[in-house]
Symmetry: C2
Subunit: 288 residues, 2 copies
């Protein structure tokens, strides 16, 4: 892709249409003027960064209601692109309609099934409005505007409303406000080396790694002890199946600490003794 | 549902069309003459059992390639229906067509996207055949037969071919044979009490439980130590988000041991000291 190659030095790939929550993550971490490359599938974001078409990839990794985005854990393992930053986006669902369309005109609302499900209280209170599943939140906002629908709305981010020139009829209609998505910013290994993070003194660091334990009793306990014995706080653990070894697992683990710190180094050496496979996926400032 | 109520004393609910791999799990555990109630959504199987419409529910919990069925972990927590047995089904994907249709006639093959993805080698070797996503594996076999398609096949189980009167053109076209799905058989608490498992001496037991740790450093390590200190082998751990507490987690854990055994009881008492919430989801003979 010529266009993508041209803007490769600065642009960041994300999954979804323009106005997706991933784009909000890009704005939060890198500012509103960062150019973006929307992609159809998660795999495409990784592929575009690996191939040098973009300078970064913004990857959703977990949502506080729906859980981990397991597919992206698998891609982290396969593409070997370092995590250089994290950020957490509050998911605010807005009821959006083409300009001129009033709330009482709405007969149906389009959005991604997960977003529709996260606004059940709104639909219970408004039984006259039908929920219609659509492939993307921002895409549903784009569609109702482009088709000029006068009886339909969409559920999407405020950024989507802005981008597609729609207006917001109801702000924040999600049932549960404790709804956040955590994102990883990935770079190429070369870029990460040339541009080390410049951070204030006292920054708390996080390290993400992946390992598989030997299939022996207490293997995971021993692995976690490598951190516990050094007072390193593990903030997340996620298991994924190990291909070719039915009912054995890979573990993805986040702990607080810089990978180069002596206690982290000791923990990793300890971990190497008791694992079959171990790789550091990234070390980055702990996000707000 | 009158029909469902009538057969409630013996039938088992599963998700998918007749001929789904879940039905194979029912046959493996309970024999081929067990009557079954196919359901559209996972939630429906739990609901049918809770409401007394069926006597059991067969629930897929993890696949050795795709990972855990996280939605069903959430349902296990909410419906409080005990796990009384487990079984593992080898997923064999067969290329199926209506009788009379030959391999060279095939222009397209329908199946669930996961099944299509698990047969990539077959599609690479046969580029003339288009892959078309369908909502269900067994459903795709049903459809090509009912529509009498002469240029289309489906990917589904041998049981589906048998049920819909189709024939198998190619056996076992999955790329990776280490493809198993583990199922839980659920009963109502009353049924489980009235019908304790009759098992041979020397049976190995498994217990599944769910807990949330206090948000303190090393919390998961302390929880696992309750088992490690008593030589109880944990065979699986799965994390899910804890609703209302962003970036805190519930852990689902399987360990080898009968819940009534003294060392299990000690481990559970130890676990209670360091968890906010703890519930045993079931104790059942370890499956083959």
């Amino acid at each position: 892709m010529k266009t993508a190659a041209k803007r490769s030095s600065r642009s960041v790939a994300f999954q979804g249409e323009l106005g997706a929550f991933s784009q909000q993550a890009v704005r939060q971490l890198l500012g509103p003027s960062t150019s973006v490359v929307p992609c159809i599938r998660f795999e495409d974001i990784f592929r575009n960064l690996k191939d040098g078409n973009v300078a970064g990839a913004m990857v959703p990794i977990e949502n506080t209601l729906a859980g981990s985005v397991h597919e992206n854990y698998d891609h982290l393992l396969h593409f070997e692109l370092p995590i250089v930053a994290e950020t957490s986006v509050r998911i605010v669902h807005n009821l959006i309609a083409p300009k001129g369309v009033a709330f009482r005109q709405l007969k149906r609302v389009f959005s991604h099934p997960v977003a529709l499900n996260q606004c059940l209280d709104f639909f219970l209170a408004n039984p006259q409005i039908e929920r219609i599943p659509y492939y993307d939140t921002a895409g549903s906002a784009k569609m109702v505007v482009e088709e000029g629908l006068t009886d339909s709305g969409a559920i999407a981010s405020a950024v989507a409303a802005e981008i597609y020139g729609a207006h917001i009829l109801r702000k924040s209609i999600e049932s549960d406000r404790q709804n956040f998505t955590r994102f990883f910013l990935l770079r190429t290994p070369e870029y990460a080396k040339r541009h080390p993070a410049r951070v204030p003194a006292g920054t708390v660091w996080k390290t993400t790694l992946v390992f598989s334990t030997r299939n022996i009793p207490g293997a995971l306990f021993r692995a976690l002890s490598a951190f516990a014995l050094r007072d390193l706080n593990c903030t997340k653990i996620e298991s994924r199946p190990l291909r070719g070894k039915p009912y054995e697992y890979l573990f993805y683990l986040d702990f607080l600490g810089h990978v180069d710190h002596p206690s982290s180094q000791n923990a990793l050496r300890n971990l190497e003794e008791i694992t079959d496979f171990l790789r550091v996926l990234g070390c980055y400032p702990k996000g707000a």
